[in-house]
């Protein structure tokens, strides 16, 4: 054995070196090829998108500032009106936030059930786990706007179609994230509760929820932040709230840019505010868990 290793050593080192170099070269080649494909894809995609756009990229580039400049200069001229306008559009903003809050609430409750029913070890009906997972996949895949537009046709414009649309998507998205957390939950409390004859809902409520609550809350807060943006966008297609006001203000065009500016300010302020608040609380929630 010793003979073989001693005699084979120089050749073995050479072999290792050459195979290592070959491997490095192969990796470089693959890396280079991947990079090349990526660059070609980006360039081709850019050209296609540019040619299918109404205005070209290079023509539009120097006009980017025009619209914001117009809006800002007009808003600056009429800056005395701004507080009044902000007060005027504040109820619409509250509606947008309410849409986001209700849909996050409903979606989180839906996601909670989807996640508990779709996690191995926790599910009430283990055979139906794939079914609940598919349901949450499909709910996650449907963009809010699809459901919102269809429901606007049936229910008429207003906040309710937006709530339902966002809640469905939220339930699917949170269902997936929640079940990833629930998979890591300790099953011993659940077993302990089961041994005392606790029902499924008692096991979940007392055995699982206390373990996963900080993470669930943190994900829900993140969703709430995302849903505020979503509800503003859905307003733009007719679901009420600040987005709807924004579309109207945009439609009036020059002369009423101060309205648009007031709405921009409100929307920007709200998003930044909730972004900061939620990231602070999320940090606290996840840190508290680590200790």
């Amino acid at each position: 054995m010793a003979d073989i290793s001693l005699g084979g050593e120089p050749r073995a080192v050479d072999g290792i070196q050459s195979s290592y170099m070959a491997q490095v070269q192969r990796r470089r080649l693959y890396g280079g090829l991947t990079l090349l494909i990526f660059v070609v894809l980006m360039a081709a995609g850019f050209n296609v998108a540019d040619s299918r756009n109404a205005g070209g990229f290079w023509d539009g580039l120097h006009q980017i500032g025009d619209y914001p400049a117009e809006v800002l200069s007009e808003a600056w001229e009429k800056r005395a009106d701004l507080p009044g306008l902000i007060a005027k559009y504040f109820p619409a903003l509250v509606e947008t936030i309410n849409i986001a809050a209700v849909s996050t609430l409903i979606g989180a409750i839906g996601g909670l059930f989807l996640s508990l029913l779709g996690t191995r070890g926790l599910a009430k009906w283990p055979r139906l786990i794939p079914l609940f997972r598919r349901i949450s996949d499909i709910m996650r895949a449907v963009p809010e706007i699809v459901i919102a537009l269809v429901l606007i046709f049936v229910l008429g414009g207003g906040p309710v179609p937006a709530i339902i649309a966002i809640a469905i998507h939220t339930a699917g998205a949170l269902g997936k994230m929640f079940s990833e957390v629930a998979e890591n939950a300790d099953l011993k409390p659940v077993e302990g509760l089961a041994s005392t004859g606790a029902t499924w809902s008692q096991r979940m409520l007392l055995g699982v929820l206390p373990q996963v609550a900080p993470n669930y809350l943190s994900y829900s807060l993140l969703r709430f932040e995302i849903n505020i943006r979503a509800s503003a966008i859905l307003g733009f297609v007719g679901a009420g709230g600040i987005g709807y006001e924004l579309r109207n203000a945009m439609g009036w065009g020059a002369g009423r840019f101060d309205d648009a500016a007031a709405i921009f300010i409100l929307l920007f302020g709200t998003i930044v505010f909730f972004d900061q608040v939620s990231s602070r609380y999320r940090n606290r929630l996840t840190e508290g868990q680590g200790q």
Partner: protein, 437 residues
């Protein structure tokens, strides 16, 4: 442990339980109160009055069925047969559905013994089982009929317009025209429109049968007729989906490319100047805070509607998000690996290349791929606003309020597209950085 200690502990435990109980009831109570407030603020009770159930019924039935219109123009006497009443779904001259028969007297068999006859001089006879024969005469702009004064609720009649809805189909009569709608399940003309020679041919005939169109081979002709189908516009739909995915791809990748160097500037470990760091972070916060909606609106003014505008809106918003995530990842880099590389005499650039990049790449790639999937969904929504991709086609189809089978088709395609991107990004992640479990 003395008795007083015990009672103190007991007291504390009781207080704790009380607080927990209060929270246990308090949180659901707050949620309930909030929902009650929403119930009144959004006027949920009034929703039933505002909801349009007819629309819901039309939507539900139209999305999986189609109707064929048999229309008589009462002025010229001309009869047209058209799927969905659309010009592009019209039967070619000399052809008609096989449930229509007769020349002088046109007999339309709706099925279930419901029969409509178009007689000469703009007279119409309608036979419905369990109801006396209805005769209608159109003259000028008015109608005369033998309908009794007391009508069932499936007939609406005035001297200008009569509408009859049966389970087998619908009949509307006005002075100007008489129209019968016969309903069938399925998406009609999905493969070939009526003017294509391949319409009505079985798959076997097209693949293996004799040449149908003398100028083209069967398979090429069939594919080209399907691709250019005027009713379902498969070519446009495919382009639209391509545009949507393109928006997501360009936006996500562009944002990642721009955000990576900026993230180095915002990370505490790599950026020595506090001011620069703070400024970069504020830029991230700003672009993220302005939100895709406002960016879309602003950019659409400069670039016009189209996929480029959507891609740029995604790019700008996600530059902020990526910048934040990337800089957090960079701050959590393990110093040991960098020191190890440094100890071999590596220069700063090499330290970054071999000490930092290998650590952060898996995190960054995972985020980028996750955003690629989520941006496919955003691109659908942004497309609806800025006018590009499948989102635009969907909004247009919904706004015309009649092609519900097309709406259903687009919805299915969108869901399939998003699920495909979800699967694809997961697959790519597995290939590039290995599976987690």
């Amino acid at each position: 442990m003395t008795a007083t200690d015990l009672s103190l502990t007991k007291h504390n435990a009781n207080k704790l339980f009380q607080r927990k109980r209060l929270i246990g009831f308090g949180i659901p109570a707050v949620i309930f109160a909030y929902l009650v407030y929403i119930f009144f603020a959004f006027d949920i009770a009034g929703l039933a009055g505002r909801a349009n159930l007819d629309n819901a019924v039309t939507l539900a039935s139209d999305s999986w069925s189609h109707k064929v219109h048999v229309t008589r123009d009462n002025r010229s006497g001309e009869i047209t047969y058209a799927v969905e009443g659309e010009r592009k779904g019209r039967y070619p001259e000399g052809q008609r559905p096989d449930w229509v028969s007769g020349d002088e007297v046109l007999t339309i068999d709706l099925g279930g013994d419901h029969i409509v006859r178009y007689l000469s001089d703009n007279r119409t006879e309608i036979e419905i089982p369990g109801f006396p024969m209805i005769e209608v005469q159109a003259e000028g702009r008015s109608l005369t009929s033998n309908l009794p004064a007391d009508l069932p609720d499936w007939i609406s009649a005035s001297n200008r317009r009569i509408g009859i809805t049966t389970p087998e189909g619908r009949i509307t009569l006005t002075g100007a025209r008489t129209e019968v709608f016969n309903y069938f399940p399925g998406w009609e003309l999905f493969w070939f429109t009526l003017d294509s020679p391949y319409n009505g041919q079985s798959l076997g005939t097209i693949l293996f049968g004799e040449q149908i169109d003398p100028t083209r081979s069967n398979i090429a002709g069939a594919i080209s007729d399907w691709w250019n189908n005027a009713m379902w516009r498969h070519k446009d739909v495919a382009w639209a989906i391509g545009e949507t995915i393109l928006m997501a791809f360009l936006g996500t990748m562009g944002a990642a490319i721009i955000a990576l160097p900026l993230a180095f500037m915002a990370a505490k470990r790599f950026s020595p100047f506090m001011l620069l760091r703070a400024a970069t972070r504020r830029v991230f916060d700003f672009v993220r805070g302005v939100d895709a909606l406002i960016w879309t609106v602003v950019l659409a003014r400069a670039f016009g509607p189209g996929p480029m505008t959507g891609a740029l809106a995604i790019l700008i918003t996600d530059t902020g998000t990526f910048g934040k995530i990337f800089s957090e990842a960079l701050e959590n880099v393990d110093q040991k690996q960098i020191e190890g590389v440094e100890s071999t005499g590596a220069k700063p650039l090499q330290r970054y290349r071999f000490g930092v990049i290998p650590q952060v790449v898996p995190v960054l790639l995972a985020q980028i791929l996750y955003f690629l999937e989520s941006n496919t969904r955003s691109a659908t929504i942004i497309g609806a606003i800025t006018g590009g991709g499948i989102g635009l086609m969907l909004t247009q189809a919904i706004q015309t309020q009649k092609d519900w089978e097309e709406v259903a088709y687009y919805i299915v395609l969108i869901v399939v597209m998003v699920m495909f991107m979800d699967w694809f990004s997961g697959w790519l992640r597995g290939k590039l950085i290995g599976r987690k479990d």
